[in-house]
Symmetry: C2
Subunit: 154 residues, 2 copies
């Protein structure tokens, strides 16, 4: 694992940005999953919980879009959270096709712990990285996403 990183890093940087990016993403998931393990949540579940806690009940499709996974996948994520009583599917009064996914009291309590974990970890991740560097990272990633989207649609 560390050998991976070393191999990646001694390559010409931009030449292998895609690899570095993928490796970093993997590490992000791993780090969050590790820290969230005591809560018995993975990153996806925690993100969903956090989103519902912050923005209130929404449909599954909106949740899927936000988390960047498919409508099919979000279903099973909600299933598991629902089994643990952290969220609830409530019928939408205006559209009988959709469920409104609402957080429960237990879910809200756990979401608070998730937020704590999140804050601590992000503070660690910021270490040694200045504010303007973080903004630059964000900007470049955004631009890169646009280019990727263009590349995919062609």
């Amino acid at each position: 694992m560390s050998s991976l990183t070393n191999n990646e890093l001694d390559a010409p940087p931009w030449l292998r940005v895609e690899s570095t990016l993928m490796a970093t993403a993997r590490l992000v998931r791993e780090a969050f999953d590790t820290r969230l393990a005591p809560l018995e949540l993975n990153l996806t579940q925690a993100s969903l919980l956090g989103y519902v806690a912050e923005f209130g009940a929404t449909t599954q499709t909106r949740l899927a879009d936000h988390l960047g996974i498919g409508r099919a996948s979000i279903g099973s994520v909600i299933d598991r959270l629902s089994d643990r009583g952290l969220v609830e599917r409530q019928p939408d009064p205006h559209d009988r096709r959709v469920w409104r996914v609402e957080i429960t009291a237990a879910g809200r309590a756990l979401a608070g712990e998730v937020a704590d974990v999140d804050e601590v970890l992000r503070a660690e991740l910021r270490h040694g990285i200045g504010r303007e560097e973080r903004q630059a990272l964000s900007w470049v990633l955004t631009r890169l996403q646009q280019n990727l989207q263009s590349a995919i649609r062609s």
Copy 2:
């Protein structure tokens, strides 16, 4: 998918770097997979082929480390490339446990096409992103990886 991007982007940038990063990584894989589809390769297979083409025969474990996937996974990747006659497993004269994974003539030819695809796509991805910005991205990602590694080991 575009709604994902929009949702991500209107969030506070650094607050959601992890999501942006993950989404970008997914797009990277998607873009490469799309462009590599005519060659009937995915990103992992192409990376392996490219690595062997450039650095010569190596063991499976080294390949796994380089690509950042597990020893178990690399086996099936090699299986498929081997079935198509693009690489070959050759016994190592000094260590009967290991295979030396060598590229074939057909594999080398295909690796050339992969390199072309790679170069074209990377040029597109650089669009609108300056040299120093790319270097900054690389630097921040590297630093972030270090922080992530520290976070995971604790």
